[in-house]
């Protein structure tokens, strides 16, 4: 699936432009963190890259119905058990029953939900639901994993634990593309940063360079906590 290229992508909803002239390339390698203020277009960009939305102009390659796997900002859990949620996409992907069971068990272990395997998924706490959604997407062993604020409802310890899980998934060769509002987390995880503001990619830089001194005044203001939507 990699590299994924977006070329001059525009996106609008209801006549309102949301993304304008987005050009970026996602190559195999360490995680790419997409950061920017609320409403900048981060979630829309992830949906476009994943394949859930079609660009109004420009193009995204490779042309596929769906690229990689994704965890939404608000996870959608099926009205099934925790285990049922894990197995559903695996069955859809055509895996045999034994392989489904093996992957589901491993994924549950990884996010610390093994004890809850038979609970109805929608009765889990917010943080548990978010971890389940991450486990469900990761169990597909995609080559690209889009994560939209995967730690938004996690406590500090769970956040660190999930960061370790994400780093582990990346180390296995999966390209992580994720958004976060936690700049500390972005520093800890990012190999590269895409800074998005008002629907435009302001810069795409290696993480070290970005955090040492961003190229744009907007990103510098954002890092100082001064850039408002």
């Amino acid at each position: 699936m990699l590299p994924i290229r977006a070329e001059a992508v525009d996106y609008a909803a209801g006549g309102v432009p949301i993304l304008r002239g987005v050009t970026l390339t996602l190559e195999a390698g360490p995680p790419c963190l997409i950061i920017g203020p609320n409403g900048a277009g981060k979630s829309v960009l992830l949906r476009l890259l994943h394949g859930l939305l079609r660009p109004a102009a420009g193009r995204i390659t490779p042309a596929a119905a769906i690229r990689g796997a994704m965890v939404f900002q608000r996870p959608v859990l099926l009205r099934r058990s925790v285990l049922g949620n894990l197995r559903y996409p695996l069955a859809l992907a055509g895996l045999g029953r034994e392989e489904q069971a093996r992957r589901a068990a491993a994924a549950l272990d990884r996010v610390g939900l093994a004890a809850l395997a038979h609970r109805p998924a929608r009765r889990l706490s917010g943080g548990e639901q978010q971890r389940l959604a991450l486990a469900r997407a990761a169990a597909l062993a995609p080559d690209v994993l889009f994560l939209d604020e995967p730690c938004a409802s996690l406590d500090p310890a769970a956040t660190r634990a999930v960061e370790a899980i994400i780093a582990g998934i990346a180390a296995e060769g999966c390209k992580i593309v994720m958004t976060t509002h936690d700049l500390g987390q972005a520093r800890r995880l990012a190999g590269e940063v895409v800074f998005l503001n008002r629907g435009r990619v302001v810069e795409q830089s290696p993480a070290a360079a970005f955090f040492a001194g961003p190229a744009s005044a907007e990103a510098a203001a954002f890092l100082r906590g001064e850039l408002l939507w």
């Binding site: 859930l52 769906i66 939404f72 996409p89 992907a93 929608r122």
Partner: protein, 234 residues
């Protein structure tokens, strides 16, 4: 007043003693309505699911048509099936008119649109919630149909109960196509109509009480299911 009082007592006695004529009528009614429900569900639920996920020209008109059919008077449904099954009708050579089979067909035709319309509403809300996630897993609308039917099963059970209640309580359709033949096509509702007009109030009342108990029980079950589904989000 004395008449009513003694009729109620006689009705209760019939129920208590398990009067064979009454039990025969009860058994036939349940058999006819449950079979009709099964057939209507096989057609109505998948149709409702399809209407919930598919977008095609004419879908809107179909939805409006189904909603209108929900209010179809049973006696009109009965008349249409009568015309199909009568000796000169297109299905006349099967000789089904005035048999329990004819009543099953009429009730199934009556409630299939109800099941389709109600399940469409339930499943459309579920699809709205699931669509992006299922597409992310690589499942299109077609593959979503069985998923929606399964994940919406609690809500769909209440839809089925509503359909059963409607079938068990209607009188017009079974009267027209069944003919109310004693011991063969006489159901609870047609028996009540007949016995009342003949003045045999105890049997009519006994059947009425049983019918009310069934309808009440079905509604209580539906309510309990709704609450269970709401609590668990299961």
């Amino acid at each position: 007043m004395g008449d009513l009082g003694s009729a109620v007592l006689a009705a209760i006695a019939l129920i208590r003693d398990g009067d064979p004529a009454m039990l025969g009528i009860l058994g036939l009614s349940l058999r006819v309505s449950l079979t009709a429900l099964g057939i209507a569900a096989l057609v109505g639920l998948p149709l409702g699911a399809l209407l919930a996920v598919a977008r095609f020209p004419g879908r809107h008109a179909l939805v409006i048509g189904l909603n209108a059919l929900m209010g179809l008077p049973p006696v009109v449904a009965g008349l249409l099936i009568y015309l199909l099954l009568s000796r000169s009708g297109p299905l006349g050579r099967f000789g089904l008119l005035f048999t329990p089979t004819a009543m099953v067909i009429a009730q199934a035709a009556l409630i299939a649109p109800i099941l389709a319309a109600l399940s469409r509403g339930v499943l459309e809300a579920l699809w709205e919630e699931y669509a992006d996630q299922l597409r992310s897993f690589g499942a299109g609308p077609w593959r979503a149909v069985p998923t929606l039917l399964w994940d919406g099963r609690f809500a769909l059970l209440t839809v089925l109960l509503a359909g059963f209640g409607r079938a068990a309580a209607e009188v017009g359709a079974v009267m027209v196509v069944g003919g109310n033949i004693e011991g063969f096509t006489r159901t609870m509702t047609t028996a009540i109509a007949l016995e009342t007009s003949k003045g045999d109030l105890p049997l009519a009342l006994a059947l009425g009480l049983v019918l009310m108990a069934i309808v009440l029980g079905v509604n209580m079950l539906a309510q309990a299911l709704r609450e269970a589904a709401g609590r668990g989000g299961a």
